[in-house]
Amino acid sequence: MAVAETLPAPQASAGRGGLFAFGNSRALGAVMLLAPAVLFFVVVFVIPVGLMIRYSFYQQTSTGDLTSAATLANYVRLGSVDLYRTVVMTTLRVSLWTTFIAMLLAYPLALVMVRGHPLVGRALTVIVLAPLLINVVVRTYAWRVILANGENGVLNWTLAHFGLGPVRLLYTEWAIIIGSVHVFLPMMVLPLSAALGKINPAVEEAAATLGASSFAVFRRVTLPLSVPGLAVGATLVFSLTASSFVTPALLGGNFAKMLGTLVEEQILVVFDWPFGAAIATLLTIIVMVVNLASVWLIERRFPSRAAEAG
């Protein structure tokens, strides 16, 4: 940290410019630039989340008041009632499947985006990213129309033309997974294509000159080098799926309930704030554990890439 200015700085060196040097003090410059954001985040993010977590250790009486003493009762309830265990398992299952399928689909997309013909790559970028800018309700609505079980369901209508079906997908976990993959696929493609783009083609060429077949080059060179991007993408997709609300609410038919829908129900419908807070805390823990694990993996296995991938 300390010798930033004399460090041989690669590219646009962090620390070198020092645009904001108030009264010649660079430290003060950094403080003045960052203070608003830090203050903002502490006040409207860190403290509220802390308060919410604290809330989860209380219980609510039937009139909406809180019990006075802290208790683990909400967490015991989460762990002991079948319903909540089921929901946690569903959440994990749906999120993992979504992540896995997104990985499978993202790889060819990212490869073509990075290595394919530039025009194709550009077009693909737009196609992959466009859905990201369309709100999730609209996208989920579309999936409802497509997967609908009745005669109006696009998929079943199509299948019927081929003498197949009907399949019953809407209101199952698979509907949520399909919808989630569609919604979050860009989150996998982006870091993956970034990682692929960073691979020096000479490395692959070197492997080829050393006698590796195309597949061997992919398996032994390209794939391992893209792991950081894959890890970031997987983390994002997992986190976003696990904490989604709209997709399970609209496609799950309340059958496949996930933590997000459960939280909403507890807080906005059953108004058991502390229990809702406990579920939210559990959700946060799941997501943050996955995130930290991914950071740990990247930093341990790919120390040099950690900075870029994060």
């Binding site: 962090a14 990213l129 859905p131 209508w157 195309s214 989604s244 609300f245 939280v263 946060t284």
Partner: protein, 267 residues
Amino acid sequence: MHEGGLGKGAILLYSVTGVITFFLLVPLLFPIALSFSDTPFVVFPPKGFTLQWYWKVINEPDFTTPFMFSVQLGVFAAIGALLIGTPTAMGLTRYSFPGRGVVQGLVLSPLVFPMLVTGIALLRLFTSINSNSSLTNLVIGHTLVTVPYVIRTVSASLLLIDPSTEDAARTLGANTWMTFWRVTRPQIVPGLFAGGIFAFVTSFDNYSISMWLADAEHFPMPMAMFALISRMFDPGIAAIASLMILMSIVIVVVLERLTGLQRAMSV
């Protein structure tokens, strides 16, 4: 690095990509197809052709009011995110100091932190401090979750410019503000622009924060959509979806033209 960059598997790869692209695009095309249906209900396959549903929905206050509100909210959130995110991006890219990693982790955390939970926490906060202005609450919430996008895009822009141009400006007599305004800002315009658009779109599409903070008078578009899906049974709903999709496509194309999408959105 094309032509042959894909090796022998190119044809296979292109075909697989084609299928996946189809999977990505179909859900965006269906609402458009359904929206022209000349039937009182959404049916598949659509029958006839009419534009009446578009005419109907743009005269439908249940659509236009939330739409205008979301535009307003998105603009406020984008302004807020730019005001907070731009200096933050500069602080993070131009200085190294102990704790830089912590600050960076903090300001980018809304990207991975469950947004639903962020929303609950905010609702808890606003309830406990008795902040009843739903608009203020929503702007704060949306700013919080859109700031990371601005920080990312602006940082990406900042890393591309030569910091010694700022030094040069200062030796030429520009003070801190003039240096930013006349030298730094013009060079990061693409980042600011992309960040602003991103913040706007993210806010415009946000559901997970809004669902906790909205009220009857301040009812953003995605929530209105959610409500309309279960209430509007005619192809008007498909028309609304189509309008949303068209708007997004326009934004994507503009972004791609202006900054190169991938850079703007890279996470």
